[in-house]
Amino acid sequence: MFKEMNDLFQWAWLIPFLPFLSFLLIALVTKRSKRLSSTISILAILTSLGLAIGIGIGVIQSGSQVVENPVLTTVNWLSIAGLQIDFGTLIDPMSAMMLFVVTLVASMVQIYSIGYMHGDPGFSRYYAFQSLFAASMLGMVLATNLLQLFIFWELVGLCSYLLIGFWFFKVSAREAAKKAFITTRVGDFGLLLGILFLYNQFGTLDFYGPGSLSVQMATSFQDFALIGGVSYLTVMAVLVFIGPIGKSGQFPLHVWLPDAMEGPTPVSALIHAATMVVAGVYLVARMFFLFDNASPFALQLVAGMGAFTAIFAATIAIAQDDIKRILAYSTLSQLGYMMFALGVGSLTASMFHLMTHAFFKALMFLGAGSVIHALHEKQNIWDMGGLWKKMPITGTTFFIGVLAISGIPPFAGFFSKDEILAAALHNGHPVIFAVGLFTAFLTAFYMSRLFFVAFMGKEKPENHPHESPWVMTLPLIILAFFSIVGGWVALPEHNFGYFVHYGEFHHEGIDWTIASISILAGVLGIGLAYITYVTRAIKAENVVARFPGVYKLLKNKYYIDEIYLWFIHKVMDGIVAKVLYWFDLYIIDGIVNGLAFLTRGSGRVLRKTTTGQLQTYALVFFFAVVVIYIVFALGEGQLSTLNPAAMLGGVK
């Protein structure tokens, strides 16, 4: 049984390769035909989805064998003195789960985009980028070593850049794309350093397999103090974690994600909600052995960062009016959730939430796209209203998403969120548990606020919404289905955890005490939003009027963007770059030009000796002869000391 599965797993490289092939085809051949381009792209991703499902089934059937021993297939990629890197595929339950999620969401988004991007002049280009993204993302999921992961990690960053800036005629999109790339680059700086130092220490970057990082850390490696008593592995863990801070939008590098909403909405759904942004979480999960072997500080940092981001982004989301930005901040908050789940030591919970979140967040983004499409690019929720009646499928599926993210049973979000909160409490992090609970309340509140304002209430007369075509609603329905049932994989005795876990697997049922508390938080949030925005028992305006400072702070996202802009424009551009340029122009070049000037000046002075007067020359000539005669007469042979050849011989 396992043998045949192994054969299947060896074909896993096809999963990223097919979309890549489709990218090449579209870019080089079918660019002119829109229909052909989209067909190729969707066919490729659907085939990948099929393969991913096949591999998923294979993993489930192989059971514990593949859980304990990930299946590696590698070929050599770079081999020189002092650097050996393989490329390959790694199949274990975690990557199989990611493969399924990525291919599913990607194919849904691509199908959806037929409707959403209809008539766009860059239609083929859009599908080319989508294919490239799918290829890179899947390649990253399958990576067997840190460098391969990093390479695809950067490539998904490139695709994200290209797709955020897809409508490049918009200045805002252009700037957002640039911001996203640069911000994640800052994170990559840390990750790259981590890779370099890890390779230097261990001589390999492989995750698993003989002599790999995990094996060496578990067995032969002795940790040692590096800087000021902090151990080597801890420093490495922190460095590696800087990458996810950038990619997964953790504070303080979260600023790019809300701006990334400038891209087409399906892109936001795929890249900036479901797949690429969770790459950071996936990386930490892959490298969990590093964090585990490092001192507790490393995981505490992850937990603290995650929890802070979760509540930080949730508070901002309350005060936003743009439907996509609310969702973006919600994504940030949920990423914080996944991160602190890892931080409190529960890989299972984090991956579980990653999966469910991918379903319901992609669903909500696509729903938002459907709304935006219907309202002709209106994104402010206060310009919407009463949409449920006009757009029943979009409204209903969106509502499912809201319930899922608010943690209402039996929707997917409930199971994963509960799992995270339970892990936080059980592993001795009560503060983080409290933060998570409060964030759950806030999440329920702002998501319901969004839903109530946009989909219920009075219709706006200037809007003429209509339900989207079936290519757009079908993905919504499929994703809604997964948002409902996606959590059930945890039943009855946590089957999900049996496959995806780190260390010893514990059978854990649902802790109903914690579950009821978290349900209560969710219901409270929804209720509060209902009172505020539907029955209007509490006037939102009054609350704002009472705390104008707080509202302004939240509305302006704690002024983080302004601080960065100030730093970049005033300090980096204004002072450092200008001063250095000045230095280059006037000091370095000044010295160079000064030397030239000196040469010219001395020439100007010395040429005065060339008077052109015959008699002056004769006089000088005569006296020179006299001097030479005297020298020769008085000291015979003394001139030979000036012999240049003799000098040269002296240099040894």
Partner: protein
Amino acid sequence: MSTLALQPEVGSLILPLALLAPILAALVIVFLPKEEGKTIKLVAALGTLTSLLLSLYVFFAYDRSLAGMQFNLTIPLIPDIGVNLAFGVDGISIPMLLLTNLIAFTAVYSSWNIDNRVKEFFVLLLILVAGVMGTFIARDLFIFFLFYEIVVIPIYIMVIIWGSTKRVSKEYAGMKLTIYLLIGSAFLLVAMVSIWVNATNQFAAMGQGPTFMFDQLARLQYDETFQIIIFGLLTFGFGSLISMFPFHSWSPDGYAGAPTAVSMIHAGVLKKIGGYGLIRLGLLCFPIGAKFWAPVIAVLALVNVLYAAFIALAQKDLKYVVGYSSVSHMGYVLIAIAALNVTSVTGAVAMMFAHGVMSALFFSMIGFIYEKTHTRNVVELGGLAHQMPRLAVGFLIAGMAGLGLPGTVNFIGEFTIFIGTVKTLPVHAIVGVAGIIITAVYSLRLIANVLFGPRRKEWDHLKDLHGPELVPLVILVFVIIITGVFPNTVLQLIDTGVHSSGLAKVLEVVTQAKIGGLF
């Protein structure tokens, strides 16, 4: 008089043929009437294509398992002082040879629209190409130096005739470029003569005649003081060629003043003669001197990386941005040389190759932009992706390669350098890696401001790249991507070169030895 007088050895005529092809083409062009612009360009293209094909043949036919110098040709030229017309390539020089011919061929196509004194332009260009190629295939220090000097003159003439005046006049730019190159070569000349005198004494003690051959020079033991002095001279000479801080200021001005083809060749390959020379002559023959100077070079290299990157942020002219970026990238090569280990030196050669292709593509695209819009000012440009999507693709890929995106060969170069550097100079490596952030900032700004943004009416008349103009784009992009995806093609070749030339052993010994301890 000598027992070492090499017998003429004609192993292969491929290298001299590759060298002669552009010279022959130049000769043919000399006899063409100057009105025949099209024919002249075709002949130039044919000449460089011949060289390109021959060097591709060398690249694929080179026996990697055998390694060492291959395709040798040795003709004693002046036996009395040991000058041999010796050609040959190994793993270090083949990438450089290939790079030269790639860029030469694409440079011809990047100058396809030139119409002022076409004949003279292409004659000079071809001489320039032959000169650069000669330095990389020479196995003799004298011949190396000779070809290097050949290069200087055409560059000067080309800059002052076909150059452009922006912040500085083209005459100033050409003068600065030439004088810097000559000052560098003056120091090299002193070094060369001293090496010869020293080596000749040693050979005489062994009962041999004098020689300039690299491999013979590398066999000798030079005493410590001599090594330090000579490596200092080489650092100065080659350092100013590779635009090491503070001898870099010719580079942005020079590129800005030069016509496209010269910028491409200069930034793409000529600059690399500095790095190549430091490795081939400096590291191999004077490892103790290298060890002595390495800390200094490492610090200067870091200044290169960060300082030039920051200045690139403040630039408005496209060519200045790329000019400063090339100064910044050369910092990585220098730091790799200063790190003195096998991996980093392999990375240095890979980086030179990568940066060569990347900067050639960049300058080619900028050349087309300038040709079509008559401006290089970033502020006046914008939204060019609307009118010129193909050019935008080339520009984008050049920019992405510049910031070291994986999938391009530049990433491989940088990564290999850092892997090597982190072993011996970890702190420097950290600071160097920080450079990638600033590089990203200026590259992305450039891309955003030139390509993206609202459509501008004033550029609506522009035609996208078409016909011959596409050649540089296609070839260079192909090379960047294919070597980036399959790095073994180039890196393993370099690896064999580093090992077979004895560099690996030398570096191993020298990193273990304390200064003044072992020797």
